[in-house]
Amino acid sequence: MEFLNPSNYGYIPLAEWIEKYVKDWLFEQRPVFKKISVPIESTLDALDGVFNLVPLPIVILFFVLAAFKTNGIKFAIFTFVSLVCIDLLDIWEETMTTMAMIVTAVLFCCVIGIPVGIAASRNDTFEIILRPILDVMQTIPSFVYLIPVVMLFGVGLTPGVVAIIIFSIAPVIRLTNLGLRQVTKGVKDAGRALGCSKLVILYKIELPLALKTILAGVNQTLMLSLSMAVIAALIGAGGLGLTVYVGLGRLDIGQAFVGGLGIVLIAIIFDRITQKIIK
């Protein structure tokens, strides 16, 4: 039956085509993308500076206070113990780098994602086109797009953040869209009947009503970006991801575990604090 196999009669050289055409094109585009990444890079540098220059006790104090304000005394104690442990595990600097990466990535996810989500909620065609793109961004194995990211942006922290943004932007777009679509027609009609412009209806009525859903999306994006932070280490992004990655490379289970533990701890802290802000 082997004669029935299609591959006996032809071959689609997709891999070769991509190698031949897309690769060159990607390299040519490099200067353009380098420029695009400038705002990301400067934000990242600024935040990295802040997190690493501010004395450790003040950073701890800040998070403990935030934890106390949002979740109360128990969680404040947990936050304090976690952050002290992070320093005792000698991964403080890496943790701060990861935090800077995550915060930058989430910031840009919001700056890009919320307007895209708003556009999707206004326009059904755009939403239909967008949906599969978001599916691809979320499901495609991250290793596949790490290579073009490296080609376009080089290696280092910034490309790492770009990869994180691509991977984790979907929820904030989806939930902005969903939140705005859930605002009832009646309330919008009331705004229209008063004579409000579309912009006023959006800012004063729709966005405030969709806020909880949008923030739930931001929280999801934050969690995804933490999980992507480890993989971003493969393209030269430092931080806790690098600790894990180096540990894996040397089969040093201990070090990999310590890096992983750091990620888990800041994930819990970030998650609880943002969850409460949503409420």
Partner: protein, 242 residues
């Protein structure tokens, strides 16, 4: 003077012909009650007057301005025409006072202080000034509807449209809303009211219009409408609800 003029207005939802050749005029200070079975197009008709719905054929002229695609005209007309909805449609994230001031601040560019004073005045008129700082969900249905009326009035409209304002209320709350509306009518407001409250129609309406299947079937002075309805459908309808 005619403040609302509808000439040969037709509207379709897809293939469904909701409004059929509607000719309908309202004079200044006139109070009109529109009634008819559900699905007869009465809500759609008054929603056309402030262009919450588009009509496909015919002319609608409100206060001398024809409704067309011109957004500036639409904004002008909407700020002159207040609307009260069946489901109140208060903004749930804003206090009652903020509900009232949103329009004046953002549409008429009024100063916050000024329109807060104005809003309080109207909230007092509908007797819920003591609830001004509360959220809509903390109020009863009747109070919410009165707040919605105050919200519309704070825009200082020339015309008020009511789309079944008492249909979503518990029976014991209908009266408090109707009282506010009667008060308003006696104050000389031009009003178009879609309602099944025939007592209200008898008390304040100058004219009653009966709609069925997208057409105006009967339009008469209030007394005439109740005493000698001509059309068979009007008679049946009246006998069912009176």
């Amino acid at each position: 003077m005619e403040i609302i003029q509808l000439q040969n207005v037709n509207k379709w939802y897809g293939k469904f012909h909701v409004l059929k050749d509607i000719d309908f005029n309202v004079k200044e200070k006139e109070r009109i009650v529109i009634c008819g079975p559900s699905g007869s197009g009465k809500s759609t008709l008054i929603r056309c007057i402030n262009k919450l719905e588009d009509h496909q054929k015919g002319k609608i002229i409100v206060d001398g301005i024809e409704l067309n695609k011109n957004t500036k005209n639409i904004t002008t007309i909407r700020s002159e025409v207040g609307m009260v909805f069946q489901q109140f449609n208060l903004f749930p994230h804003l206090t009652i006072l903020e509900n009232c001031t949103l329009g004046p601040i953002w549409v008429k560019n009024m100063k916050k202080k000024e329109c807060e004073a104005l809003a309080m005045e109207y909230l007092k008129k509908v007797q819920i000034d003591d609830q001004a700082k509360k959220l809509p969900s903390q109020l009863s249905g009747g109070q919410q509807q009165r707040a919605a009326i105050a919200r519309a009035l704070t825009m200082e409209p020339k015309i008020m449209l009511f789309d079944e304002p008492t249909s979503a209320l518990d029976p014991e709350m209908v009266k408090e809303v109707l009282d506010v509306m009667i008060d308003l009518a006696k104050g000389g407001m031009t009003m178009c009211v879609v309602t099944h409250e025939m007592g209200f129609a008898r008390e304040v309406a100058d004219r009653v219009i009966f709609m069925d299947e997208g057409s105006i079937v009967e339009s008469k002075k209030t007394n005439d409408f109740f005493e000698n309805p001509e059309n068979e459908r009007t008679k049946t309808f009246l006998s069912q609800i009176l």
